[in-house]
Symmetry: C2
Subunit: 384 residues, 2 copies
């Protein structure tokens, strides 16, 4: 076993960042292809940057984020946070009390770990299900959570979405929607309504998922709840800082629905190419992906690695040898090891898919060559 715990996950991320740094310094930024779908960015003019001071910055950009944020997310008021995870933490700190219940419905397990972790922190009982018929709201429930689209981009059914909100509101329980990628995926590609328009009390999105914003979180919802949550956000240092807020404003302004829709079509092309060689790639809404178990089934040499380890080693080969950034090398602890090739990111929009397909095949061949040597695998993940 190679990646066994959170500390290992931090170490592999540090290694991935070093590889990226070396590639930028020796071969330039153009040698990298960020296909995480999280590339984000930092769009800002120099006159804006000169205003990025502690108290002046937020004054200027606070109004702007209210305006574009509400347009993007719906709701009465928005709040920019350092990350989606910190927004979820703040919401749970504000609304969930010790020993109360939190119930979570999502299209496919598992939930993003920040939700059960935050519940655990306040001593709440947490339940999650991806079976609609099994979803129920017990007594003493303080919060109902809905995930709009999962880490692997599985999208909730809109009818179920509405019904769960109704069930919660019939019992006067607030609903928080984790719409990290869903705020765009659901609305643009699947034509669903915004979470707040469906009645969510609080919705959270990641400003770097499927849009050119910075890593960060944007919450929207009922003004009274946002004000309550903002207190916890300020108390524990969870808010987005002025540079991030500026980049969020510009990221939302620069978000192009047509890129999402274009990638929605181009993924079929890449899927077809890869299917000539592999049988376990799946389509995601805006790209293709392979689960660790799927990758494992592709391997036809004996080895001792876990499925997740295979995914880590494969994605590190893609990064080191081809400059292809996928999520597993760079992710934070607890994230899924599924390898996704997202075609909506700016590096992907004009990428030649034939050439990408060949690189993936060639990286896979290298994977098969080294997996019998666990020492080498460990090295590529932690010290390459």
């Amino acid at each position: 076993m190679i990646v066994n715990n959170s500390l290992d996950e931090v170490k592999k991320r540090d290694n991935a960042l070093t590889i990226i740094k070396n590639l930028v310094e020796t071969k330039g930024r153009s040698s990298l292809f960020d296909l995480t779908g999280l590339a984000g960015g930092f769009i800002a003019s120099s006159s804006e940057i000169s205003l990025l001071e502690t108290y002046v910055g937020p004054a200027i950009f606070e109004d702007a984020i209210q305006e574009v944020g509400k347009e993007h997310m719906g709701g009465e008021k928005v709040l920019a946070v350092n990350r989606t995870s910190s927004g979820i933490l703040a919401t749970i700190l504000s609304l969930v009390s010790k020993d109360s219940n939190v119930v979570h419905y999502l299209a496919e397990l598992p939930a993003h770990p920040s939700i059960p972790r935050s519940c655990n922190l306040v001593g709440a009982n947490y339940f999650e299900t991806d079976v609609f018929e099994e979803f129920s709201i017990p007594n003493n429930t303080s919060l109902v959570v809905i995930t709009g689209s999962t880490m692997d981009h599985k999208v909730i059914d809109e009818e179920e979405f509405k019904q769960i909100i109704e069930m919660a509101h019939a019992k006067d329980i607030p609903v928080m929607v984790d719409d990290a990628s869903g705020a765009r995926l659901r609305t643009v590609v699947f034509n669903q309504a915004k979470a707040c328009d469906l009645g969510a009390d609080i919705a959270i999105t990641s400003t770097d998922k499927l849009m050119p914003g910075p890593r960060g979180g944007l919450m929207s919802g009922r003004a009274e709840l946002i004000d309550e949550i903002k207190i916890k956000v300020n108390q524990f240092g969870l808010e987005a800082q002025p540079p991030a807020v500026l980049a969020m404003v510009n990221g939302i302004k620069n978000f192009k629905e047509e890129n999402l829709i274009k990638s929605f079509k181009r993924k079929d092309e890449l899927y077809k190419l890869l299917s000539l060689k592999f049988s376990n790639f799946k389509k995601s809404p805006t790209g293709v992906m392979i689960y660790p178990e799927g990758l494992s089934s592709e391997i036809n040499v004996p080895h001792k690695l876990s499925d997740d380890d295979l995914a880590y080693v494969f994605s590190f080969i893609l990064l080191r040898d081809y400059g292809i950034i996928t999520i597993p090398p760079v992710s934070m602890p607890g994230a899924s090891a599924t390898i996704r090739f997202e075609l909506s990111s700016s590096d992907a929009v004009n990428l030649d898919l034939n050439s990408l397909g060949k690189k993936i095949v060639s990286a896979f061949e290298k994977l098969q060559d080294i997996i019998t040597n666990e020492e080498k695998c460990r090295e590529i993940v932690f010290n390459s």
Copy 2:
């Protein structure tokens, strides 16, 4: 009573940001004088800004922050966090268990609220004292906290600092130093050693306090503990984002010890000017300040405001009518209402002290005129 709870504090901050925005938009940035000592800033070249992407940014700036951060803070490894408060939260989440004790020594009560709040969150028992003779470490203590210099810039005695570290280490208990402003104030102005060089296991500083960095926190310390804390930081979304890390690197590089030392001298001049009119201003290491109680003693008309409310109204007049930014209008909930005029900030370095003194006197006269009218006071704090 005007500012009564955290929600009021959030509202007054929102109002202050609106005033600042209007001033910038109607009269330009030069109409503002940020004397908070927290002005921070965002120093970055355009080539650096083009690298500010989610995964490329941290790769590039992670090495740089390690290098300049260790030079600034000492210690084996540094970790950039979204705010000092979130670094403190992460440290307590990592090192402090339920029902264990946390003891805190500082030069003057009260402690920064993020420390007791985080202890409360994990269910630990928190004790603080500013009487050295009363400080002791009970059984079942998981963390000893030392504040290097308080919110009001009161600096700890270095001998006491060392002795408390020794007491903790004799019992094998880690020491976290909240050196928010102290990392510079203690070392540059008071010639004390860096917290890590004195033996602190973890030290945290605010990168916008008395230096031209962004709002953010920088932790340093023993590599093994930093790695452990980094897990919580990543899990709950507490890390500094790439733009902030870049600005931290440049803020530290641009930190000028001589500005701190110059302000250390200029404060005497301002103090003398103000003492012609007032008897309750005090010197802080790099400026002058007045406690809410002190301000209250200056007033010679009958009124019904609390001491803190007086400080809020006074500081809002300074902001609205003279563009002078002090901490009370813009602070996060729980911060001290003491009004400080910090002379180390970039807006202050070349400010004419005579003119500043006259503005303060004239704002005070306006304060005396309106305090009998609580409605007007409320308006200036929440809706001016």
